[in-house]
């Protein structure tokens, strides 16, 4: 890739529309690290939205036994089945450890939520072959590309002559 000078250089984030459509279309089981049980918290909004759009939400939060009707696990490593995406609502300095766990459990994508962009964590995920997205909300991107956000007057940047699928 042009501009890469060594292993520490982070390639630009892959957040073009085809890449996000591919990730959100194929990665259907989402572990949400730091998911809150409080209905008005952003993590709860996002997870509830994804759940209602057919995704399996796997809460990762040691403070609760169950959130949104799903068993909540203390750590990613405790989840007894495969996870496609690790979606993280934690403080930025915790990101590299979460990224290592995501790699360890065989996740296919590592997603840092809106406002979070830890380059080290991105490097860990990318080096292990995961799709890595940062500073984006999984709910907002889904709604942007698969309908919904448009109705809220948001500039989705989708220009197309095909019916939405």
């Amino acid at each position: 890739m042009p501009g890469r000078s060594g292993p520490v250089t982070i390639p630009p984030m892959q957040d073009d529309i085809p890449t996000l459509r591919r990730i959100l279309g194929a990665h259907r089981t989402i572990a949400v690290v730091g998911l809150s049980a409080e209905w008005h918290r952003p993590s709860h909004f996002a997870a509830k939205y994804m759940q209602s759009h057919g995704y399996r939400i796997v809460p990762v939060n040691p403070r609760y036994p169950e959130i949104l009707g799903e068993t909540s696990y203390a750590r990613l490593e405790d989840i007894p089945f495969p996870v496609d995406m690790v979606d993280v609502f934690r403080k930025e300095d915790e990101m590299p450890a979460v990224a290592r766990s995501a790699v360890g459990i065989g996740a296919r994508s590592f997603w840092q939520q809106l406002g979070l962009r830890n380059a080290e964590a991105d490097g860990i995920a990318t080096a292990a072959g995961l799709d890595s997205v940062w500073d984006r909300c999984v709910k907002i991107e889904h709604a942007r590309l698969f309908g919904g956000l448009h109705w809220a007057g948001v500039n989705t940047r989708v220009i197309s002559a095909r019916r939405p699928v």
């Binding site: 209905w39 209602s52 956000l149 007057g153 500039n155 940047r157 220009i159 002559a161 019916r163």
Partner: protein, 440 residues
């Protein structure tokens, strides 16, 4: 690979409208319905909690109106937009969402008359004070800021004063004080100026004007850039649980389109000045040709300004597209054209006519307007038709003379919104009306 950045001509036709999911309709369907069914009680709850996006009731959102909202947001290079019943509704929605009793606004002095009244009379009734300053002087905005100031408001191109706002300089003043800059970008339209690119935080439009473009339909739009830090301590309504919408924290939940969501869920929901779906559709027919029309509005207006400047029957001409306009260079830095509005004063006849002074100029201006053949005497702007008006006796008559001067309205001022008729015909009508007005 990075997504393509489409140009305005393409966005004006495509942004916000992909083929209809249900029918494949290529042109925009008019969703003429008040309400939308819920799939289940759970779906209804999620919609009311704002946990999923969807339509509930057309006072809040409607798919046809949404196409206009997204298209204007895209043309402005902004994050989101919400449409309203008129331009005044858009201003009112933006300001009442942001402000409460005890707050203060610093506003550019050369504003549309309805806006002056909104700020100086109507919002004042609710305990919101406004200080009007010289819109050409960024330092004057800074000097008027108080601890309780919560917004700076101005027009990117003043109507009818033709004053050009130094958007970047005033945005710097606003941001240095933790305030958003709200600008009315109606006269340039998103085609000629994108205030967000120069630092504006909220942009309002009267879509009635160039966006719709054909003098048929009222509408307004509030546009949000998506960059302002509402968590700076001055805007608890954006960060604290909303009593107006059952405890939602708008900024935390919606981030860079939080202001738009709050305008919609708190403001439109209770004030109710929503845009009708049919109106949104009519405005969008205009928007599709906006770049083509603005090109011609600009070239026709420049030709009119050049002719008037050299006409001995004309006392003065104000058009930012003329090199002698005091802000011509600023206009060129900020705008892709000077738009279709210009103002001039008719010079009373030197001899045999009424004596000189303001009243003579005013009388000559009125005679000019009454002598036009196809130029229409009315108070709108941004029509296909050439429109003429006398602001001192119409749009700005509610203001006293001092307020009129502050708004840039001189007694003899004639405003022309130059239309899309053939330029030779427009120049012919101006020439014959001038001849009748001054007897030469």
């Amino acid at each position: 690979m990075a997504d393509r950045q489409f140009r305005p001509e393409t966005l004006a036709i495509h942004a916000g409208q992909i083929p209809d999911a249900a029918t494949g309709a290529r042109a925009l369907p008019i969703y003429q319905t008040t309400s939308f069914v819920f799939d289940s009680a759970e779906h209804a709850a999620s919609l009311f909690n704002l946990q999923t996006f969807g339509n509930v009731y057309s006072r809040l959102s409607n798919p046809t109106v949404a196409a206009l909202e997204e298209r204007v947001a895209a043309l402005e290079g902004a994050r989101a937009a919400v449409a309203c019943a008129s331009g005044m509704a858009a201003e009112t929605l933006a300001l009442t969402t942001l402000l409460q009793a005890g707050d203060h606004v610093v506003a550019g002095g050369s504003l549309y008359g309805g806006t002056v009244t909104l700020l100086a009379v109507n919002l004042r009734k609710f305990g919101i004070e406004t200080t009007f300053v010289d819109a050409t002087d960024p330092a004057a905005f800074a000097a008027a800021i108080r601890p309780e100031t919560r917004a700076i408001y101005a027009e990117t191109l003043g109507n009818p004063s033709m004053v050009v706002l130094d958007i970047a300089a005033v945005a710097d003043v606003a941001h240095a004080h933790g305030l958003p800059l709200i600008v009315d970008n109606t006269v340039p339209s998103p085609c000629l100026c994108n205030p967000v690119a120069f630092g504006a935080d909220v942009v309002v439009h009267s879509a009635t004007k160039y966006l719709a473009g054909h003098g048929t339909t009222l509408g307004g739009v509030v546009v949000e850039a998506g960059r302002f830090d509402w968590a700076n301590g001055r805007f608890p309504g954006m960060t604290e649980p909303s009593p107006g919408y059952h405890g939602v924290k708008f900024f935390e939940t919606f981030g860079d389109f939080a202001f738009t969501m709050r305008c919609r869920m708190e403001g439109l929901r209770v004030w109710g000045a929503s845009l009708a779906p049919t109106s949104a559709w009519q405005i969008l027919q205009g928007v599709e040709t906006l770049p083509l029309r603005m090109e011609r509005h600009c070239s026709n207006a420049l030709a009119v300004a050049q002719i008037l400047r050299d006409d001995p029957r004309v006392a003065w001409v104000s058009y930012p597209g003329l090199p002698d306009h005091p802000q011509h260079d600023l206009m060129r830095r900020q705008m892709r054209g000077a738009s279709g509005l210009l103002a001039f004063g008719v010079k009373p006849a030197a001899s045999g006519g009424p004596s000189g002074g303001a009243s003579a100029g005013m009388a000559a201006g009125v005679r000019f307007i009454e002598s036009a053949q196809f130029m229409s005497h009315l108070v709108n702007i941004g029509d296909t038709r050439t429109l003429i008006s006398h602001p001192a006796s119409t749009t700005h008559r509610q203001l006293d003379e001092a307020q009129q001067i502050k708004a840039g309205v001189l007694p003899d001022m004639v405003r022309i919104s130059v239309g899309l008729e053939h330029i030779d015909d427009i120049l012919w009508d101006i020439d014959q009306a001038l001849a009748r007005a001054v007897g030469v």
